[in-house]
Symmetry: C2
Subunit: 326 residues, 2 copies
């Protein structure tokens, strides 16, 4: 890769945020975050054939997806995207033009959120490895932490669950135009920044993004908040086209496959109505899937009720044994 | 790699900076930079067998070196290190314990500069790829940009040039205890944060770090500042043990091998005496190597004078033809 021509090709002509004092072109970027706001920083690394494949994704798709996964973390913190960094290590078989296409896929999403590319690094390696680091701004009292769930909260999730995993499986089966919706859910997930924006008025929201599956995300919430949660299988939002899937397969897709980059969280009962209204008015699907139990627990646990039987739902989605206790 | 046990092993028990509102353990870190300061962000990716080798470096050395290279960028911007992120993609042949040793090598340097590890990501891949992102704080009027060199400035460099490259060559020749100094200069370079600290009183300093060799760094300065520079070969600081090296080899090491992570820069003639005193009082070597020419130039150029002949020094260190013009 010719690093200099690559940088020239991707270097922004101007920066959208006046807080960017110095962008690309020195030993580092310089920013001056708006006074009174805090800066959220999230970072993700994706490796070819581990997190994505160029066999069924375009370079633009790859760029889009890596940035989307990062933006999902900013959403889960309740922050508004502002800047990003991109580090790429790539084999000689990938051309400058292909890397620029990947950057363009990111830029499409970045432009939508008015983000500035402020730096990064490119180097050669045996495989394509992409690290994206994103920055978001948040008002100090509007951070959405995993640790803020409270007894009796409503537990909700945005969108449908398991679509990305299902899309991935359909892609393996070969291209079929009628499955395009699910393919795109895998290749170009939409971070739920919109949910964060429309619910700015809510004082307390506990949020996590669905990257590893809701089993994992809900367990993170109960651990961080010291509460227990009960969700109902029948309430989980599942796309109509997926309902008829073989049950074990469906269960895995919905509970533990992840990568939907939707948001799962909790809010007070009194705020739940406002959250619903805010989402409805802005075309965002949000579904109540359960409740935070009434008491704090020494051993924070996630339970799932299905066919009137309550089981423990652990990190990996596996429900072992019956557990009607609390 | 077991990501959870790895994170548990490296997660700080407390954060040194009160500006870290939320460290590791949610979807992102949250920071609140000190009011009135700006944040410098730099990032570098290093790949096994491209930027380092485990054949002659310990895991601790690798961690140390990757962070040192990043801190050198913070120094070149005039900033004080505060936080860092680490993204690692590694093959299954590398154990959790080995990755923790790498993190410990970073931590040794990070602790020295009171830095906090605030996040990162770990994933599997075919080869070891490490991305480190560092954050530094700087007073708005004390940024040290490449674009601030002015006509008649003194051009200086810290330390000696070519030591890292020479150390690398000596390592290839096999281990010899008497060469330990140069080996260490390659494996564990010292970022020149100290130079930045002791020269806080200087109003204007133009700085660049010697990562690609002074030919490249000086060309970046003249391009960004719109000036031309003349340096003298005889003034370049070279370790006494290297003086006797075959001339072409020495020239390459000193001008273009880089990775010394020293600082090269310019300051006004009136400040030069203060810079020298500040450095001397704090045990930092600094050497005048040339001057910024008296006029701005349409084609910013770096010249080197050797044996009373002035030649152009281009980005890669190659001096082509005679050029007594200006």
């Amino acid at each position: 890769m010719d690093e200099f021509s690559f940088i020239r090709a991707i270097q922004p002509k101007y920066y959208k945020h006046s807080s960017v004092i110095k962008g690309i072109g020195d030993d580092g970027a310089v920013i001056q975050p708006s006074s009174g706001t805090q800066l959220v920083i999230a970072t993700d690394t994706m490796v070819e054939n581990v997190h994505f494949s160029l066999e069924y994704m375009t370079f633009e798709d790859v760029g889009f997806r890596v940035l989307a996964a990062n933006l999902s973390d900013l959403a889960a913190m309740g922050s508004q995207p502002v800047y990003y960094l991109v580090n790429v290590s790539s084999p000689h078989s990938i051309s400058n033009d292909e890397l620029i296409r990947m950057m363009n896929g990111m830029k499409e999403l970045a432009d939508h959120y008015h983000m500035d590319l402020i730096g990064g690094d490119t180097t050669s390696g045996q495989e394509l490895v992409i690290t994206v680091t994103v920055f978001g701004e948040v008002q100090p009292n509007k951070k959405r932490l995993r640790s803020t769930a409270q007894p009796n909260d409503i537990v909700f999730v945005t969108g449908y669950l398991g679509e990305s995993g299902y899309g991935y499986q359909l892609i393996q089966d070969g291209y079929d135009e009628s499955n395009r919706y699910f393919h795109q859910r895998h290749k170009r997930p939409e971070p739920r920044i919109d949910f964060v924006e429309v619910n700015q008025s809510i004082q307390r929201l506990c949020l996590n993004d669905v990257s590893d599956g809701i089993s994992s995300e809900l367990n993170e919430i109960v651990q961080a908040s010291g509460v227990s949660i009960l969700i109902n299988w029948d309430r989980l939002p599942i796309h109509p086209s997926m309902i008829e899937l073989e049950h074990k397969r469906l269960e895995k897709l919905v509970l533990s496959t992840g990568e939907d980059f939707e948001l799962v969280g909790t809010c007070s009962r009194s705020d739940w109505e406002h959250v619903q209204t805010n989402c409805k008015n802005n075309g965002i699907n949000v579904t109540k899937i359960g409740e935070v139990l009434a008491y704090k627990h020494q051993k924070p646990t996630v339970y799932i009720e299905k066919n009137h039987v309550k089981k423990r739902l652990n990190q990996s989605g596996y429900q072992h044994g019956n557990d009607k206790g609390d």
